[in-house]
Symmetry: C2
Subunit: 122 residues, 2 copies
DNA sequence: TATGGTACTATCAAAAATGTAAGTATTATG
DNA sequence: CATAATACTTACATTTTTGATAGTACCATA
């Protein structure tokens, strides 16, 4: 199954959660397993499908496609297709996606701090 | 199923993702569907189990328990049990969890901005 | 005519997350 | 003795996400 079922309780919950507070809405936008990883790599500039695949070796083509589609739908990224053969497709952060970068940097710092915190209190 | 299977590819992927960059690690910490919502409510101070349940009406007792347990394991929150009857349990953000608050505020702002961005580019 | 390169898509299966409903332990109070 | 209040736990079902594998379309080039 690739898309969420619009009659499920889970779907209702996600809607409600997203409208409750905006950070939860944000989390829904950023929620895929690979979404943040993709954002990180795109923070350095536009990349082609194949380049992303090389930068994230563990991801399968299917998951990369799915995540990119979702991110495109959510307008985190912009997809540019060039009419060439072999095909060329480039992905880059949208205007709104770029505004995430400083937050990602802070999350990065927090993550490091928290890892230390965990070790100290183990 | 309640806990991740330590022999699965998915588990390997999460480990690898988490060690790749710290913001992805952070996202794993914050990843549950209700985790951020709980953090938001605890940002205002400690709360009892039943209080949290009232503040997040859609959550079930089971999910609230699971999320709180995970957050406790990850040391985002601290759980205090009082030896009383009927029982009393209080949850509050850990020292490290409190450091998330400014980031949550920024995420909140970004979320609002992004909602507008989506509407403008619909 | 066969091959290669790119960015996918389709199908099926497995795993993970979440939801539903019912039950538990404790003791004060009526 | 029955009930109420609180914070859970258990068993099971459903939904959602992710993985594995194979195949497609396009056209330049050998």
């Amino acid at each position: 199954m690739t898309s969420i079922k619009k009659t499920s309780v889970n779907y209702e919950n996600k809607l409600q959660l997203g409208s409750e507070c905006a950070q939860v809405y944000a989390a829904l936008m950023l929620g895929g397993q690979w979404t943040l990883a993709i954002c990180c790599h795109l923070a350095g500039g536009k990349l082609r499908f194949g380049e992303l695949r090389k930068k994230i070796p563990a991801i399968t083509e299917r998951m990369l496609t799915l995540q990119l589609r979702k991110m495109e739908t959510n307008k985190l990224i912009v997809r540019k297709v060039y009419a060439e053969v072999p095909p060329r497709v480039e992905y880059e952060l949208s205007e709104s996606g770029q505004k995430l970068i400083p937050i990602l940097i802070q999350l990065d710092n927090w993550g490091r701090q928290h890892q230390e915190y965990l070790q100290q209190h183990a």
